[in-house]
């Protein structure tokens, strides 16, 4: 290839990337670990020359906080509810899209639309759809019940207080699940449809000759041949799910919960930023490492499961 005396040239081209990565990627990794293992580390105090004992007190503190465990629970709950739901729905839509010809491109475009949105902006639209205005009479009367409740009432159900003051925790969770699934669909559909379109048509021809039932075709041909893509969207879904934050800000605002129950829906990432805001960088770092550990473990489990189930 190219003469080795020109090695310096390669390093010259790489210099901007390497310098920036050293400052904003490599150093943070080292420093975050260092901060996490200095008990009660605080950047302001450190700047003034304070020193901290080495230890695992930050981790003990973080794990001892009721709020951390609650945030962890919220995060896991949203993950466990949204990843299977959005994956299944995306699979159904992708399979349906793949089986039609007229309108396929048009519908595919519509299903991709939520991807190119600002998750805070559209969160505000969802909040408006679930929002009740002018609730009074002990919750029996209101000016506007919100369009979602209007649909429910049309079907003969009672209106539900989804996100307003005095709303139930589970009602909040349902709203978040609906929004997160809506948001997660486009990417999953795109990947799964791409996978479906690359499956060799001969498998389906063979199944048709054998008169295989449609459901069997789905479970015995489509899903196994699609399993690498499925594994991919599930793994990235879990990774994204554990970092859930801005979708909650979109619906509930920075209070991370309905009025008078602020912080009720806070997540792991929210906890990290809250710790940062109170200048406890040691605890924030410990929480970030715990988050990284959880993501790592979940990804490993996913990979182990897919090793057994995925057909390449």
């Amino acid at each position: 290839m190219v003469e080795s005396k020109h090695q310096w040239k390669a390093w010259l081209y790489l210099a901007p990337a390497i310098i920036l990565l050293l400052v904003f990627t490599v150093w943070p990794i080292i420093n975050t670990v260092a901060m996490a293992f200095q008990n009660g580390y605080n950047a302001l105090a450190a700047k003034r020359g304070a020193s901290f004992d080495i230890g695992i007190q930050n981790f003990i503190d973080v794990l001892g906080y009721g709020s951390f465990l609650k945030n962890l629970l919220n995060t896991m709950l949203l993950c466990v509810a949204t990843v299977p739901l959005s994956t299944m729905l995306a699979l159904l839509i992708a399979v349906a899209l793949n089986s039609i010809k007229p309108m396929q491109k048009f519908l595919q475009t519509i299903f991709f639309l939520p991807y190119v949105t600002n998750s805070i902006a559209i969160g505000m639209v969802f909040a408006a759809m679930f929002n009740i205005i002018g609730l009074r009479g002990g919750g029996s009367m209101a000016d506007t019940w919100g369009i979602v409740n209007n649909f429910l009432m049309l079907l003969g159900f009672e209106p539900i207080n989804w996100i307003n003051q005095g709303s139930d925790y589970w009602a909040n969770i349902v709203v978040m699940v609906v929004y997160i699934v809506w948001n997660a669909l486009p990417f999953k559909i795109l990947i799964l449809l791409g996978g479906l379109q690359s499956i060799n048509k001969q498998y389906y021809d063979a199944a048709r000759v054998d008169g295989t039932a449609r459901r069997r075709v789905l479970t015995r041909i489509t899903v196994p041949l699609l399993s690498p893509m499925l594994a991919y969207v599930i793994i990235t879904g879990f990774i994204g799910g554990f970092k859930e934050y801005s979708s909650i800000v979109g619906i509930f605002g920075e209070t991370m919960g309905p009025p008078a129950a602020a912080g009720r829906l806070n997540t792991m990432v929210g906890f990290i930023y809250d710790s940062l805001a109170t200048s406890s960088q040691g605890k924030a770092s410990a929480a970030a490492l715990i988050l990284f550990g959880i993501i790592l473990v979940v990804t490993m489990i996913n990979l182990q499961v897919s090793k057994k189930r995925v057909h390449y």
């Binding site: 190219v2 390669a10 081209y13 790489l14 990337a17 920036l20 990565l21 990627t25 490599v26 150093w27 943070p28 990794i29 975050t32 901060m35 950047a43 089986s99 039609i100 309108m103 519908l107 299903f111 991709f112 639309l113 939520p114 991807y115 949105t117 600002n118 805070i120 902006a121 559209i122 505000m124 639209v125 408006a128 929002n131 205005i133 209101a142 000016d143 506007t144 019940w145 369009i147 209007n150 307003n164 669909l185 990417f187 795109l190 791409g194 970092k243 934050y245 801005s246 800000v249 605002g253 009025p259 990432v269 930023y273 940062l276 924030a284 770092s285 970030a288 988050l291 990284f292 993501i295």
Partner: protein
């Protein structure tokens, strides 16, 4: 039963089955379309609701029985959203951050990808592997230290803080490197023989050939600036430094919930509009970029 008879029986049976299968097939088609169209309506509904709500009067918005088409179009909501949300300032800030960071990011990405794809140097594979390894670590882990770094550099409430920490994306380098590798090496060697400089070769050959990837990167990077929320919120709390998302979330939130919702929805529509425009015209590049990356922005 003689052989001939049996044969005709089977043929008849087959015909019968295929007629049944055809009806079944039509039914399946109907169900498929019904399902897809229902889901498409569910996906589209929030956009529809955003637009009609943004054009309603406040009284109509608060009506107990909802209207699905504004009785009277209040276009003034949009003007008021611009004013109340200080959207012009937010747009300017975001455009500045988006354009500058995209441009610098492209330069850095192209140079690095070129070095990895075309040049030989000691430790190339190890360096590339190390870069890829950093992709596994969640960004939250960097944020804490980067905040301290930016603070020490005196960059709080400055464009430097909004632009510089995220200029290098290992993923984009990887993507472009793969693309560059597909270009035959002979072209490069021929150019070398002709005495063409690296930069000229990059500009005249590599960049045109890798243009689709570069366009994908540009769009995703711009969308990233448009949608970023957490980092700007941390490093730029002064109002004149806010980016679009931060301003949007803060300008229309009142503690008492007495916001003017139609104006709020108008602001959301204004903020969403550029994204839809990009999507409408450059859908192909976005979808290509996304299906290979799996990252938002």
């Amino acid at each position: 039963m003689d052989k001939k008879n049996m044969k005709t029986m089977t043929a008849k049976d087959l015909q019968h089955v295929s007629a049944g299968a055809r009806i079944m097939g039509i039914l399946v088609k109907i169900v498929t379309y019904a399902f897809l169209i229902t889901m498409a309506l569910v996906v589209l509904f929030p956009f529809y609701w955003m637009i009609i709500s943004s054009l309603k009067s406040e009284v109509e918005y608060r009506a107990t029985i909802p209207t699905f088409w504004p009785q009277q179009f209040i276009w003034g909501n949009y003007g008021q959203a611009f004013k109340d949300g200080n959207l012009l300032q937010l747009f300017k800030n975001t455009a500045y951050v988006g354009i500058v960071s995209t441009f610098l990011s492209l330069v850095i990405t192209v140079l690095s990808a070129f070095a990895f794809a075309r040049l030989e140097f000691k430790g190339k594979d190890a360096l590339f592997a190390a870069l890829l390894a950093t992709m596994m670590i969640p960004g939250e882990l960097f944020t804490i230290t980067n905040y301290i770094t930016v603070n020490r550099l005196g960059w709080l409430n400055s464009f430097e803080a909004l632009i510089i920490p995220f200029l290098v994306s290992v993923f984009y380098i990887y993507l472009l490197k793969q693309n560059f590798m597909q270009i035959p090496n002979e072209l490069y060697l021929a150019a070398k023989v002709d005495g063409t400089s690296d930069i000229k070769y990059l500009w005249k050959v590599m960049i045109p050939l890798a243009l689709p990837t570069l366009i994908s990167i540009t769009i995703l990077k711009m969308m990233g600036a448009w949608n970023s929320y957490i980092w700007p919120k941390l490093v730029a709390n002064r109002e004149d430094m806010w980016l679009v998302t931060n301003g949007l979330r803060n300008a229309f939130t009142t503690a008492e919930g007495q916001a003017n919702y139609p104006v709020q929805m108008a602001a959301v529509a204004i903020v969403s509009a550029p994204l839809f425009m990009v999507f409408l015209f450059l859908r192909k590049y976005i979808m290509a970029g996304v299906s290979r990356s799996g990252i938002k922005g």
